[in-house]
């Protein structure tokens, strides 16, 4: 009896220890509060009138970022873009509301490890425990999808960025808004460009990463191309993480396309471009997803020359914003803050904040319904291009204002590789290099 009592006692002590360890309330979880020194960058809004000092509110923006795992690079850029926006708004004194108060922002974010396991757990924590007022999506369509369920459920407005897949916005969400051009439009412009460059080209090979985002891009591309009478001589996927494209390249060489379109993400895209070059596969036009717009694509050297890629945004693209900084201003501020040029992921992060800012200013409050109304009615021009959302029941929140630009790596007078915008012609900074080889 005594023994059993002793054993039971031990168990109870254990139980106590365990439960106390499990109570999140008991564990101090300081969050990443962004309190950087204000940057010198131009400010988006007027400073509020001097005295009396307005009542200051703090709005929390919550999101997860891929600090580890395969999406780390893109996610970090996106994160930096958002951070720049927030620093600028806060430095400028915040956003004035209708009731005379001003709102400043702080962010809370956690590592989602580039996978979906904890996305919902972390977003729920953000929405409830951390009392986030607004949510930004994680990078990538897959993760954003899981987060959207939570945002919708807790009535939080979520601006998605880096989440291009169309499917998310066709699920019936009311509070999820997309800042990227949807995946279905990524490569259709490339086809238009190709048609204008050489109407005689008819044979296209589409090779793509066998993964959600890329597949939704090429499915739209394929339908569009077939509609225009192109011959798809090869339509084939490759696995995520593929490093050896040899077998696929042999198949391409065999099919003898005049143009190759497709790709997936940075690593496979740049590897593909490099090996295509190394193998000296003859092709007149090459457009790949995601990789070419990245500045580090230039590391491929000659293999990068002439490669075209769709970009959500380019520093060179000269839009005249009616809200927020100009492209040049953004590039300067970003470079000053992070010591590197912004990529379109960075711009995506920044513009997500900008959309939120415009909506709050229009609504004049932090009330979800008012902000939703502001977002639904939004149609603005930013450094990033036009922003307008679909408000239909079938595709609510889908980005319909923004268009892709297409860049191409070309050599400048000194022989160094530079990115040029080559399509649409209205925004082009240089004529396209054609044919490729």
């Amino acid at each position: 009896m005594k023994r059993t009592l002793f054993a039971l006692g031990t168990l109870l002590v254990l139980a106590g220890l365990l439960l106390s360890a499990c109570t999140p309330a008991a564990t101090p979880t300081p969050t990443a509060v962004v309190t950087e020194a204000p940057t010198e960058a131009p400010v988006a809004t007027e400073a509020p009138t001097q005295p009396p000092p307005p009542v200051e509110k703090t709005a929390v923006i919550g999101f997860t970022a891929s600090l580890t795992g395969k999406l780390n690079v893109e996610s970090t850029r996106q994160n930096d873009g958002l951070k720049l926006w927030m620093d600028q708004v806060n430095a400028a004194g915040g956003i004035p509301l209708a009731d005379g108060s001003v709102v400043k922002f702080e962010s809370k974010f956690y590592d989602d490890e580039s996978n979906k396991d904890r996305v919902q757990e972390l977003y729920t924590k953000l929405a409830t425990e951390d009392k986030a007022d607004f949510l930004i999506s994680p990078y990538s369509s897959g993760l954003a999808d899981a987060a959207a369920v939570i945002a919708e459920q807790y009535g939080k407005v979520m601006i998605t960025t880096g989440a291009a897949s169309d499917a998310t916005y066709k699920k019936g969400y009311a509070l999820v808004y997309q800042s990227y051009t949807p995946a279905s439009h990524y490569l259709t412009g490339a086809l238009d460009q190709l048609a204008s460059l050489d109407p005689n080209i008819k044979k296209i090979a589409i090779v793509y990463e066998n993964e959600k985002f890329s597949v939704s891009v090429v499915e739209a591309l394929k339908a569009y191309a077939e509609g225009k009478g192109y011959e798809i001589v090869l339509y084939e996927g490759y696995d995520t993480g593929t490093t050896d494209f040899g077998p696929l390249l042999n198949k391409i060489a065999e099919a003898q396309p005049e143009s190759i379109m497709g790709g997936g993400h940075f690593q496979d895209g740049s590897t593909f471009a490099k090996q295509l070059f190394d193998k000296q596969v003859a092709v007149k036009y090459l457009a790949l997803l995601v990789a070419p717009p990245e500045p580090s694509f230039a590391e491929l050297g000659d293999a990068a020359l002439g490669v075209i890629g769709p970009s959500q945004w380019e520093p060179l693209a000269a839009f005249t914003p009616d809200f927020g900084p100009t492209g040049v201003e953004l590039v300067d501020a970003y470079t000053a803050a992070f010591g590197e040029d912004p990529s379109y992921h960075s711009a995506g992060g920044y513009v997500a904040g900008l959309i939120l800012q415009k909506a709050i200013e229009t609504a004049g409050s932090l009330d979800t319904a008012a902000i939703k109304a502001a977002l639904d009615g939004m149609d603005m021009m930013t450094f990033y291009g036009r922003i307008k959302f679909d408000t239909s029941a079938e595709a609510h929140g889908l980005q319909i204002g923004h268009d892709m630009v297409y860049i191409q790596w070309q050599k400048d007078a000194a022989g160094a590789l530079v990115k040029q915008v080559v399509w649409p012609t209205a925004g082009a900074t240089a004529p396209a290099l054609f044919p490729l080889r």
Partner: protein
């Protein structure tokens, strides 16, 4: 597909196959000597890639020269990993060693991501191309394949022609007897683990000379190594080269008949099938 396509595919398969074989060789060596499946294998391959990258970009070292340094560092790293993480559990259950190497993998990947991020790197060092009839080859790949064959031969000579190498084989074959002969088995085990990681690091270094990579790139080769190791016979370092060749050929020939994405399905089915039918590998002695 025409003949030229087939030839190109075969040549590609052979070239990548020997690299695969080299990548798997370390894993099978470690298994053969101490029956440990090294789940940190992939991360060591990635470290090899970064070794070349750093030596090339920051010190401007010729990548092939850097390879020698990477090999030495790989050996040291292996000995350190063995001493800290493996030695205590080398006689314990498979689960213990699997988890010990897995935690090493977590540590390396975690630190690697923090330091290098997962942004892709590329060693921009070209040796040009070689065109033979229908086949266009990248010289870097040709050199890498040659290096892989060279390293394999060196390993063979070491294991079969040197006293130390024979100690390694003796410990692998019968540890108790080796101890009885006065062979210091603990040191030999550490050396063997070091050699295993050295081979992985060299393979990674060679891959870095022609493929872009990230800190996570080793994982792909680790999974391929499992397949190769089983094809060539667990614990048979030279079988690994043959296994690698088979895998390389399969990867280049299957896509001729099937979409590319079916390759892993067939690969892993073959892997399970061989485990079931010939667990000692295609070239192993059937028991």
């Amino acid at each position: 597909m025409g003949n030229s396509g087939l030839i190109t595919s075969l040549v590609d398969g052979v070239l990548i196959g020997v690299i695969y074989g080299l990548a798997a060789m370390g894993m099978t060596l470690i298994w053969g000597v101490m029956s440990v499946i090294n789940l940190a294998h992939g991360s060591v391959i990635a470290l090899g890639m970064f070794g070349i990258y750093l030596l090339f970009t920051s010190l401007g070292l010729n990548p092939y020269l850097a390879l020698i340094l990477v090999a030495i560092l790989g050996l040291l790293l292996g000995v350190i990993i063995y001493s800290i993480a493996i030695h205590r559990v080398v006689n314990a259950s498979h689960l213990s060693t699997l988890l010990a190497t897995f935690s090493v993998n977590m540590i390396v990947i975690g630190l690697g991501t923090a330091i290098f991020s997962t942004s892709p790197r590329n060693v921009n060092y070209s040796l040009g191309n070689l065109t033979l009839g229908p086949v266009t080859l990248l010289n870097a790949r040709l050199v890498a394949a040659l290096a892989a064959v060279l390293v394999t031969s060196a390993l063979y000579l070491f294991l079969y022609r040197t006293r130390l190498g024979k100690y390694v084989r003796a410990v692998a074959n019968n540890r108790a007897a080796a101890e009885l002969m006065g062979i210091p088995s603990a040191q030999i085990l550490a050396l063997s683990f070091g050699l295993g990681t050295m081979l992985a690091a060299i393979a990674g270094g060679l891959i870095a000379t022609f493929f872009p990579f990230t800190i996570l790139s080793g994982g792909v080769y680790e999974l391929k190594s499992f397949v190769i190791v089983v094809l060539g016979g667990l614990g048979n370092p030279l079988g690994a080269l043959a296994g690698g060749l088979i895998l390389g050929m399969l990867e280049s020939i299957i896509p001729i008949f099937l979409p590319n994405t079916w390759v892993p399905v067939l690969e892993f089915l073959l892997f399970v099938l061989i485990l079931l039918v010939r667990p000692s590998g295609l070239f192993g002695v059937k028991k």
